[in-house]
Amino acid sequence: MELSIAHGFFCFLVYVAAICVVLRVYKNVEPAQAALVTAIIVFFVTATALLIAGGPINVLGFIISYGFFVLCFLMAFGALYKSISLRIMSDLSKTPSKTEVYDQVVARYIAAESYQSRLAVILKNGLAVRMKDRLALTPRGRSIALCIRSVQKAFGIQNSG
């Protein structure tokens, strides 16, 4: 068991190195997708390498420890990659006075970029359709929304978004 934690951690380090290379080489790939696919590939490659090396390996322990480290990394990666707050702060730091008008920040990050990109995702995935200048849910979008609403109801989630 002790060894499986070390194996898991070592393979996790290989994963971090791999993701740094992958994101630099495949610049057009969605980073979240790249992070997930790389995690799976590194798992199989490193597990095979460990088995070929012939040392004692606790497979269950290895899977759990590798999975744990990768999940922790993916949580941090997701926060870095998706965080609007961090991006706002980063852009503020690039202005000479480290300050910006609040309404401009709202207009740029929330109204323009973030909102429009979400609408584009919804339309691209066929969850809603444009009818002239208005948007309506497709049957698929409606059934997904109904499903989410019932899950929220079941778990007592009152305010989402």
């Binding site: 706002i88 480290k98 008008v101 609408l119 309506a136 007592g156 989630i157 978004g161």
Partner: protein
Amino acid sequence: MPGSLAAALAIAVLQPIYLWMAGRVPILKGRNALQFLFSGIACVGLWITAVLLFPVCSPRGYAEATISLMALASSVLVYLELWGLISRGYTIGILLTLLNSVEPLSEREIANQYRGGKGLDWIMEHRLAGMLAAGMVRRDADRLVLTRGRGAGVVKLYEIAIRTLGLQRTG
């Protein structure tokens, strides 16, 4: 499979039940983050109870206990991701706004009716409240100012992480 690990996995699988129970506790109603915290604490508490009460669940050594806790924590992280998506998802919020409307909505109407009429500005206010509370930024009349100490420090760490990972664009 070791007993402590089996106990961790069994307890972890049942986390939706603890979440369901948390939704029924009056003091936690409408407080999504606290509901999840309650369920996470329940997981760890139940595992410790199982380890202490049942000899079969007792870990044989430090490594086995660590692996069991890693399994439990991994499961909690997966549920946290799903919970965050369902309770805070921006795209899901837009879908629900469209669902709640009897007729198709324009982009402006969706923005205004988002989150039960709070509007898209709510997202910014919510984020800003977090950044202000953490001392990363401050409000100066109509302007947003990055704080010199904490705010600038976090930006430095963020930029190092972005550069190291090779991320092109975030947010």
